[in-house]
């Protein structure tokens, strides 16, 4: 999950990293008051989860509290990357001497966290790494040993930083590394990390992402930041389809169903599974010229009600007349139960199962029982001897052939 900048700054501050005297507000009037309190020029920054806010006009400079109020009013109404801001951050305009970058990410190959540091801050680290590789220092650290500051010092020194700057920056990167581990982050980034004209080193912007799986054990921090458990910080707002499927899934503990339709605009409904099977089958439908209306995952051993619920939600989508019910070979999922569920969905929506279910391909346990039920309704099915791509082709052909 991603944090807003004002939350990230709070997290950084708690880890002992200096920040400016910023204020987070949700109205233009409050922005004015905060700017007056700060005194002098300020920056108004949109608090939005999507990137590219500078380019979108979500960051504005103001010399007076009145100007701050006007900018805040505009920014609060400005949608960026499909997201409305949660508020604005009012930050004293910093007189910057030098900008640095400090970050920590996971290195999946080394299976350890990796520090990144650059003396060219303020721009994307990927860009610096590509164009000025000698200005990016890297260093891994152990998952088991307590973090020691020299590890951070080595990384900073490797790009040629020395003198008092090295000694001031070392505890900042070291604290960021500790925070990354202590708070179960997947990304902890300070950019820019600024040396001000008055000699102070402060985090002018921070970007933190926490692993979703770690949310239960980071509850104290999340509570402190006022983030409720249901605030999942998805990259987009869940669609009605997505919300409905989720509700059906939570209502019953047997098996798991998931559904996504953001970015899918097709006419073939997919009732598919499991993890890897769903990825493979979505590709298979597309490679056969089909247009999926959604993505889905059936996992474990769902009840009839759950399978029925998923199929119904898919069938209720605009323009969906037919569904393909397909999975890779299953070992836990009972084929007959899924068959019952999808047939029930058709009947409850007054649709003929043999017309609506373009193909049924779920090889595995209880498949014989499943075939018997499918036979009774005249639904086309196949076993493992028909490949996933061939099954997808048959389904696509039926949709494109129009109603039989």
């Amino acid at each position: 999950m991603r944090f807003y900048e004002y939350e990230s700054r709070k997290i950084v501050e708690q880890a002992g990293i200096p920040v400016t005297e910023y204020g987070f507000v949700t109205t233009a009037e409050e922005a004015k008051a905060t700017a007056a309190e700060i005194g002098g020029p300020v920056v108004i920054k949109s608090q939005v989860l999507s990137g590219g806010r500078m380019k979108a006009g979500g960051v504005q400079f103001a010399d007076t509290p009145e100007e701050a109020e006007a900018h805040a009013r505009n920014i609060l109404q400005l949608e960026i990357g499909g997201h409305m801001p949660k508020g604005v951050l009012v930050d004293p305009k910093a007189e910057v001497e030098q900008e640095y970058y400090a970050g920590v990410v996971w290195d999946g190959t080394r299976k350890q966290p990796m520090m990144l540091f650059s003396d060219m801050g303020g721009i994307d680290i990927e860009e610096v790494a590509e164009e000025h590789p000698d200005h990016v220092g890297r260093g891994h650290f152990s998952n088991l040993l307590p973090f020691s500051d020299f590890l951070a010092k080595q990384v900073i020194a490797s790009v040629g930083v020395t003198g008092s700057a090295l000694n001031r920056l070392t505890p900042i990167l070291a604290n960021l590394a500790r925070l990354f581990s202590d708070r179960d982050m997947t990304l902890a980034e300070i950019n820019p990390l600024a040396q001000l004209e008055n000699g102070r080193f402060v985090a002018l912007d921070a970007h933190m992402e926490m692993e979703n799986e770690a949310r239960p054990r980071q509850k104290a921090l999340l509570d402190e930041l006022g983030i409720p458990g249901e605030d999942l910080r998805e990259p987009h707002e869940p669609s009605a389809f997505e919300a409905n499927v989720k509700a059906i899934d939570s209502a019953d503990h047997r098996g798991v169903i998931q559904g996504k339709d953001t970015g899918f605009h097709g006419d073939l409904g997919l009732v598919i599974g499991a993890g890897g099977g769903s990825l493979t089958l979505t590709d298979a439908v597309r490679s056969q010229g089909g247009k999926p209306a959604n993505y889905a995952e059936i996992g474990g051993n769902p009840s009839v009600a759950k399978a029925c619920g998923l199929a119904k939600e898919v069938l209720k989508k605009d323009g969906v007349e037919k569904i393909a019910v397909m999975m890779s070979i299953v070992s836990n999922t009972r084929v007959d139960i899924v068959a019952r569920g999808v047939i029930k969905a058709c009947l409850e929506l007054d649709k003929d199962p043999s017309e609506t279910i373009a193909i049924f391909r779920i090889p595995g346990a209880w498949e014989e029982e499943g075939f018997k039920i499918l036979d009774r309704y005249g639904i086309e099915y196949c076993d493992r001897s028909v490949s996933m791509h061939e099954a997808a082709r048959r389904a696509v052909e039926k949709v494109q052939g129009g109603p039989a």
Partner: protein, 308 residues
Amino acid sequence: MSILLTRDTTFIVQGITGREAVNLTRECLDYGSKIVGGVTPGRKGRDVHGVPVFDTVQQVIEASGAVPDGSVVTVPPAFTKDAVLEALEAGVELIVVVTERIPRRDVAQMVERAGQLDARIIGPNCLGIVVPGVAKMGGIGGPARNTEQAYQSGPVGVMSRSGGMTTEISSTLTAAGLGVSTAVSIGGDAIIGSTYAELMPLFEEDEQTEAIVIYTEPGGRMEAQLAEWVKDNDSRVPIVAFMAGRFMDEEEMKGMSFGHAGTIVEGEEDTATQKIARLEAAGIPVVERIDEIPDAVKKKLSDREAVA
């Protein structure tokens, strides 16, 4: 022969009294695996399909008189790291972690500790290992009867980030008359105990294995690591890859993960398109359909014979 697992491999099941664990214990026993004990704290004295249950790994060792070769860990995510460390400290050298949704830091910690002790972790978020006709460790393939149907012994090693697709691919190889030497469900998370490249040396040494099939997905650098390994090592074993999740490269899908936690794309290198290019540059053909895998493997095998 095989990798990781033989007829004589002994293992325990940690979390054995859980519903899924009870099933996989039955399946493994039916398939011929040697399960010497189970652990669930507080349940000492019970048995699961004839396997005695203990409170600690130490107690299993005391009762059986030997350190088991392996452990299948299927306990809730909050307790997994502790269970894995318990097995590692007791001297267990092969640990299959079935549990999903374990925070990355915990995974990284147990993997680092395993490395210090020269032990190996498979998973997490995996279904385990099967050596067709010999033994299986984990729920892979399902009940023994279903495992037999999908997995016949043969010359092809299988490694897959998806448990279900391990069986789909193996079944396809079996139906084509090729068969499988050892199939490993390596796990769907961003950090896993054993990557493709880390298992390659084992397959390389295995006389039975003449070719490898891998199932891959967007997210992570595991495929890039394999491509580098292949370039750096003059491997005798040709590899064929299948890439799922190509649709995730579409602009509208950016930032989303599908299927497994590990599919989250964090950089340009992680996309399906980039991975396919990298694998192909390393001489690993990437097929578009599962049903193309057997012919691609046969072609690799006959190309090699032609050279020899």
